[in-house]
């Protein structure tokens, strides 16, 4: 075969291209660049004053009641997280992944939901469960190790906390699609970490949600780390919110330590979802102040100075400063909230210090609606061993 050989040239030369004509289509759509190029949306600046040129916020969000509710939720999340951190150190939990520093996301996620909305949390979002109103003992059941999920997932419209990363994202699509087909004004809010955005399930879910136009909101808490892996080893995207472009859905980058801003962008996303506008991808820029879990040693991979810099942007301090400056918060109210938090933590302590009741029956009861004969035999064997 000579087909691929070069033939002898025939005819005249091709006219030289006009190299002075610029590209009509600039096709390096986005050059790789450092992640922090893009300033996230914020309402408050890092000291808690209204940010210059900041996000425009729904006035209702700024009503004192709403602001104080947000503040209380932040304090609750902090108190919960602090107590859970104590409990794990005392051996009352199997493991605890702290959300310290991420309380604005935790609080806003829970506050943005209506009772009929679905929440899909990860292992790190136990404080959000508490703010949603779930009993802390039930919320901590997974991490205590007495069952996989302690709360009534259907009643609370809250999926069990998800550990296999990003696998809950397609569930949020299915919930949204279910709501859409049923004609219910219900939104599914999926919480994810920055690391989880690298998983295939994240991609498939975002893409499907956009194609189906489901009422699903993906909230990425970009806390800068996936265990030890910093964001720049996770992605070369300019911003995680840029990923929305590839799905044809709105993408938002918000200051995750500014609860007002997070509430605002969540509110808009929920509103859009409820009114048929489809899914939204939100990246909340925040920081995991503690190690990945109590078992992790963060000194192996990051400097204390970096942590200090983020502590200065503490979400509680920022809102407190704003509330104090606007006269909604004074020492006496703050102390009262502190006492409420202390009582809440005491109750957690009292309940979780007790050894939980467990019985082998529970392992067998819900494998299937009706246990197989083989499972019934195994149950009898285990229970006989217990009696012996």
């Amino acid at each position: 075969m000579t087909l691929l050989d070069l033939p002898a040239a025939t005819g005249r030369a091709t006219p030289a291209p006009d190299s002075s004509r610029p590209h009509d289509h600039e096709y390096q759509v986005t050059g790789p660049g450092p992640y922090w190029d893009t300033e996230p949306l914020r309402y408050l600046d890092e000291r808690g004053a209204p940010a210059e040129g900041g996000l425009r916020v729904d006035p209702a969000l700024l009503e004192p009641e709403r602001l104080l509710a947000a503040y209380r939720a932040l304090r609750l999340a902090r108190a919960f997280d602090t107590e859970a951190t104590n409990l794990v150190m005392q051996g009352h939990l199997a493991v605890y992944p702290s959300c310290r520093g991420q309380e604005a996301c935790q609080a806003a996620a829970a506050l943005a939901l209506r009772p009929e909305d679905w929440l899909l949390p990860t292992y790190r979002d136990t404080a959000a469960l508490a703010v949603r109103g779930i009993d802390p003992v039930e919320a901590l059941t997974l991490l205590r190790g007495s069952w996989h999920c302690g709360y009534d997932a259907k009643k609370w419209r809250t999926a069990p906390q998800c550990t296999p990363l990003a696998t809950q994202a397609p569930h949020a699509v299915g919930l949204g699609l279910g709501a859409k087909l049923a004609g219910d004004p219900v939104v599914a809010l999926c919480l994810l970490g920055d690391g989880a955005t690298s998983e295939g399930d994240f991609h498939e879910a975002c893409n499907s949600a956009a194609v189906y136009q489901t009422p699903t909101v993906f909230l990425i808490q970009n806390n800068q780390y996936a265990i030890s892996v910093p964001l720049h080893k996770q992605t070369r995207a300019r911003a995680l919110s840029d990923k929305a472009i590839g799905y044809g859905m709105p993408g938002v980058r918000v200051d995750g330590n500014d609860v007002i801003a997070v509430l605002q962008v969540l509110g808009e996303a929920f509103e859009r979802a409820r009114s048929g506008g489809g899914p939204t991808l939100i990246e909340a820029v925040t920081y995991r102040v503690r190690p990945h879990t109590n078992a992790d040693d963060a000194n192996r991979y990051r400097e204390q100075a970096e942590v200090e810099a983020w502590l200065a942007r503490d979400p509680l301090d920022r809102l407190a400063a704003f509330l104090r400056a606007s006269g909604h918060l004074d020492d006496s109210l703050d102390e009262q909230i502190g006492r409420d938090c202390e009582r809440y933590a005491e109750s957690m302590r009292a309940q979780l210090a007790l050894e939980p009741d467990v019985a082998p029956a529970e392992m067998f009861e819900h494998v299937y609606a009706v246990p197989t004969r083989q499972l019934a035999e195994q149950r009898a064997m285990v229970e006989a061993g217990e009696d012996a």
Partner: protein
């Protein structure tokens, strides 16, 4: 949304008329009847709506029930199954199609870590009435990745039911039962048998999930098979009769739950057992069957339980699959060995 079926049994058959139907058509009818009976049933997957599926099992469903009840998905199997899980959480009863057995592998994590476990971890709050339809098996001249048999992977995963019909009647009824089940079912469709036919009256009722069926009675040995290995076992039994072997054939039909009673009763009668399936033998489902039978029928067995299965190598290309697949000949070789024992 209204419900017209109970949780555990499909609606009672109505308006029978006998026809010659293919196994594919029986599946198609089962889906249509299930969708008609319960409007929480939705069908989705790759190419299932406009095209009616590459095997046409979902043909006509989108036209009849609308694009909200039967729709095409993006090409993303993990998300297909994950979406089904979310819809089940919301109260739907999704039936999803994986286009070929090997193309279900991307959904493996969703299946093992969520579909199988969701009822359990939520103490029953979020049951998973999901059916995952998977055409499986070879002998159709398919290239790489189009002839896998992955039932062993699934059957080892507690929380899932695994079902596979070999007859037109069971195709209909097991699929109706799967859709009506409160728990997830992986429904393996023997794709080589899609065009097999029977004169049946649809709707038809057979046994419930969890029961095996004796397809042929015999006294010398029991051939235990499922899916498209059942006709091969029956063929072997027929040839065997000419050679003087009186062979019983048990169609497992339901791998999970496993019908120990029917299987053990048969082997107790015959004293010999040969397990047949297309998947590779090593750590295949036949190992479980052989182990159970060897344990339960220990004192009655006159020969070791033998396995006639696919070879322990990647499924070969079309021109070679006849060497790979369990054949009536290979089954009869095993029968001879068992009878000589």
């Amino acid at each position: 949304m209204t419900t017209t079926t109970s949780e555990t049994r499909p609606a009672a058959p109505a308006a029978p008329k006998t026809q010659t139907v293919t196994l594919a058509k029986a599946l198609n009818t089962a889906l249509a009847d299930a969708m008609a009976a319960d409007d929480r049933v939705v069908v989705f997957g790759e190419d299932v709506a406009e095209l009616g599926g590459v095997f046409r099992i979902t043909d006509g469903l989108a036209a009849r029930f609308g694009s909200e009840r039967c729709f095409d998905t993006p090409l993303a199997e993990a998300s297909i199954l994950g979406t089904a899980i979310g819809m089940a959480m919301y109260g739907f009863r999704p039936v999803v199609e994986m286009q070929f057995d090997a193309f279900a592998y991307p959904s493996f994590e969703q299946l093992v870590s969520h579909l199988a476990k969701m009822r359990n971890r939520t103490r029953g709050a979020l049951p998973m009435p999901v059916v995952v339809r998977i055409p499986y098996g070879g002998g159709i001249g398919g290239v790489e990745h189009h002839s896998d048999s992955s039932e062993a992977y699934i059957a080892h995963t507690p929380g899932i039911q695994v079902v596979t019909p070999s007859t037109v009647e069971d195709a209909y009824w097991l699929l109706r039962s799967a859709v009506a089940s409160p728990d997830p079912v992986v429904f393996f469709e023997p794709k080589r048998l899609y065009w097999s036919k029977a004169a049946v009256t649809l709707p038809v009722t057979t046994g419930p999930i969890g029961t095996a069926a004796v397809r042929r009675q015999g006294r010398d040995a029991t051939l235990i098979a499922y899916g498209q290995s059942v006709p091969v076992a029956l063929e072997a039994a027929q040839h065997g009769a000419e050679l003087g072997y009186d062979l019983e054939v048990v169609d497992l039909r339901s791998l999970v739950p496993f019908d120990d009673a029917t299987v053990a009763a048969s082997v107790e009668r015959t004293g010999r057992a040969i397990v047949v399936h297309e998947a590779s033998g090593f750590a295949g489902f036949g190992a479980e069957v052989a182990a159970r039978v060897s344990e339960r029928c220990f004192y009655r067995l006159e020969a070791p339980v033998l396995r006639v299965t696919g070879l322990d190598l990647p499924y070969p290309p079309p021109k070679m699959e006849h060497w790979y697949l369990p054949s009536a000949d290979r089954i009869l070789d095993a029968v001879e060995r068992a009878m000589a024992a």
